[in-house]
């Protein structure tokens, strides 16, 4: 695993000058992941904030070969790229070793792109799929996705007289991916560079499909100051709302255990999208949120042999 100094010397694959918002979690995750690649990388990108903000014609912020075609198909697209690479290797038309990575938002991964992802994982292409998870459709103006947590305000789960924001719990995509039995699956966060780089390195070295679900805050949608990004993301980990773990060849391992598990309310409190939950009449929702988190955390601890 490279040191921070060594990482800083690696070539910038996503260069400055892109138009993602100040304080956006996505480019932090992407730059760390790409810095972890010790060989050339080719990337595919699903439609979403990362894609539209990095390639406004005639400019591109990508220093590596990069392709975007549509929203739901980053996994299928990179599968095509990787298949061409295999075909060319077989015919002796190319000899470099290349890594392949696909980036999709939570919308492009949990929802509309789930089928293409599942197909590509099952077929066993050698590629890393990264879901940069900001827990809603941000590019289209903050609509709920199946990654949006319970109670969150979004423009399609607005807080009204009858409904208190999103009424469903989020789905557990990392477990769904792990159920494919692929060699490497991990959950990480853009605020912990060591954890993320370590996992990305493992993923790139995996001979087969690998997957990382990275929590990456969107301050526009989560409603916090751009300067608070790292803090807010890290709080999700400390509250065990977003546990850091990996599943390597079926073996679960917790990669970070908070010294003291903080109540979820601490995380809810720092984001405007949960403000309404702090009202006394919504107390039961905060409690339900805490229960969900506790249950999932316990299950995970068991899987990781920590309980």
């Amino acid at each position: 695993m490279p040191t921070l100094k060594e990482l800083a010397k690696r070539p910038e694959r996503l260069t400055p000058g892109h138009r993602l918002c100040a304080g956006c979690g996505a480019p932090i995750a992407v730059r760390l992941i790409l810095a972890a690649a010790d060989k050339p990388v080719v990337a595919a990108n699903a439609t979403g904030c990362l894609e539209v903000s990095t390639t406004i014609f005639p400019y591109t912020a990508w220093n590596i070969p990069w392709i975007h075609s549509a929203f739901e198909n980053a996994a299928a697209t990179i599968a095509g790229v990787e298949s061409m690479y295999r075909a060319k290797r077989r015919r002796g038309e190319i000899d470099e070793e290349i890594y392949f990575v696909a980036f999709g938002g939570d919308g492009g991964t949990y929802d509309i792109g789930l089928q293409a992802l599942s197909g590509a994982l099952e077929r066993g292409h050698r590629f890393l799929y990264v879901c940069y998870n900001n827990e809603a459709y941000m590019n289209t103006g903050i609509q709920r996705s199946s990654a949006t947590p319970l109670g969150a305000w979004t423009t399609t789960s607005p807080v009204g007289r009858v409904l208190p924001g999103k009424t469903q719990w989020r789905k557990n995509l990392t477990e769904i991916v792990a159920a494919h039995g692929i060699p490497y699956v991990a959950q990480s966060v853009a605020s912990n560079w060591r954890d993320l780089v370590n996992k990305a390195e493992k993923a790139f070295h995996t001979d087969g499909p690998s997957f990382i679900n990275v929590l990456a805050s969107c301050n526009r949608g989560w409603r916090h100051e751009p300067s608070e990004t790292l803090k807010v993301m890290q709080l999700a980990v400390e509250c065990c709302i977003w546990p850091l773990y990996e599943v390597e060849n079926g073996v679960y391992r917790l990669t970070y255990k908070p010294k003291e598990k903080k109540p979820v309310e601490e995380w809810l409190r720092v984001q405007g999208r949960f403000r309404h939950l702090l009202a006394p009449e919504n107390r039961h929702l905060v409690e339900a949120f805490q229960r969900y988190v506790d249950e999932e955390w316990e299950k995970l601890l068991k899987r990781c042999g920590e309980a």
Partner: protein, 398 residues
């Protein structure tokens, strides 16, 4: 070790003819998903892969949307790419069709024409490919299994020509061609290999020294100019399609143009048809000629780009034209072939009278007698001197 096959004549259906062409072309990547009536083609190709007769990376995707998405990724990575589909599969690809063409990727796709749902129907009509006619793909229609085979091989050359670099659809009528066994002459493996030549990569994602960005956000300041250049690109393909058709003719003895004129030179009336119905129409023309009628057929092989000049030249001298459309445009003014032919002839003076017939939807059979009826009608229209009914049906129970 692979044995190079010499020229042979075989009994093949359209799907098998396409699969053999794909085997001989030996593309780098094929990504496809099964659907009736195309399945047979994909299965046969899977056998070629399994027997080691091709070096192709065969990607057994989980949907047609992913099939074309994978083809796009693969084609942007600097190699030869093919796929095949039909009906609902093509409909599911719709979003990606435009993207493949806009990225100027020379993908070749075999489409077995089948009706679109609903209701679900597995038989032939042209609503699937006609629905995709504005997506920016070149579209070549085939009359029989031999033409399917020949078109597949030519399609590779057309798509990859440096003056073109666009995706090509080769179509064949569901069941009528795809499942009917005919005698098909295959070129030798080596001949096909030489004819298609090695793939010339442009802007490959695997060219690490020259990193490229495919599919950026293209706003009001550039998008329009990009569309303009795409319009020119597809319009400029016509001479290349003709050139390749001639060169293929020299090799095989089977020459191809954009259109085929059948007994049209001295004709007064013609039908305009695409696909397998051309065979039926030729029979009708022969029978009517035997009865002294001056009739002929204009077969459209290349529907996209639309060979407007050639069509005007072929049809302008006629008194009357009956267009046969195997797909409908709901709420429109006639089928897609009719509207374009009629529009192309607008500036001709004197102008032939033109009528349209919807026929064969959902696999409804079309008979020689139906086409004779179409000729009788256009003759009547010309006698009266004006069109009282622009759009009618053939083979429909009223």
């Amino acid at each position: 070790m692979k044995v190079m096959q010499e020229r042979v004549s075989m009994g093949l259906n359209g799907n098998a003819a396409a699969a053999h062409a794909m085997r001989q072309i030996n593309p780098h990547v094929v990504a496809a998903y099964p659907i009736t009536p195309q399945t047979d083609c994909v299965e046969r190709f899977a056998e070629f892969v399994s027997e080691g007769l091709v070096d192709t990376e065969f990607v057994t995707v989980e949907s047609e949307h992913s099939a074309l998405s994978a083809c796009i990724g693969a084609a942007a990575s600097g190699g030869r790419v093919m796929t095949a589909t039909s009906s609902q599969g093509l409909a599911l690809m719709w979003e990606m069709l435009y993207i493949a063409a806009s990225m100027r990727l020379p993908i070749v796709m075999m489409v077995v024409n089948r009706a679109l749902s609903g209701n679900i129907n597995i038989h032939c009509d042209h609503s699937d490919t006609m629905g995709a006619r504005d997506a920016g793909w070149i579209q070549l229609f085939s009359e029989n299994a031999q033409e399917v085979y020949d078109n597949m091989i030519q399609a590779v050359r057309i798509a990859e020509d440096m003056r073109v670099r666009l995706p090509v659809m080769v179509t064949q009528d569901g069941f009528i061609i795809s499942h009917a066994v005919e005698r098909v002459e295959l070129l030798g493996d080596e001949e096909v290999k030489t004819f298609v030549g090695p793939y010339k990569a442009l802007y490959s994602l695997l060219d690490l020294q020259h990193p490229v960005t495919y599919g950026p956000l293209d706003l009001f300041d550039y998008y329009f100019e990009h569309k303009r250049s795409q319009i020119e690109a597809i319009d400029n393909c016509l001479p290349v399609i003709e050139e390749v058709g001639k060169e293929f003719g020299k090799l095989s003895g089977r020459f191809y143009g954009l259109l085929e004129e059948y007994r049209l030179a001295d004709a007064e009336y013609a039908v305009v048809v695409l696909g397998s119905t051309c065979g039926t129409a030729k029979e009708a023309v022969d029978r009517l000629r035997d009865r002294g009628k001056k009739v002929g057929l204009l077969k459209i092989r290349c529907f996209r780009p639309f060979p407007k000049e050639q069509i005007i030249r072929a049809l302008a001298p006629l008194k009357g034209v009956a267009v046969l459309d195997r797909s409908v445009t709901f709420g429109g003014f006639g089928g897609p072939v009719f509207t374009e032919i009629r529009s192309a002839l607008y500036d001709v003076s004197p102008r032939p009278l033109i009528i349209d017939f919807y026929y064969g939807l959902g696999g409804r059979d079309i008979y020689v007698e139906d086409i004779e009826k179409a000729f009788a009608r256009i003759e009547d229209v010309v006698r009266v001197g004006w069109v009282d009914k622009h759009i009618d049906y053939l083979g429909l129970r009223e």
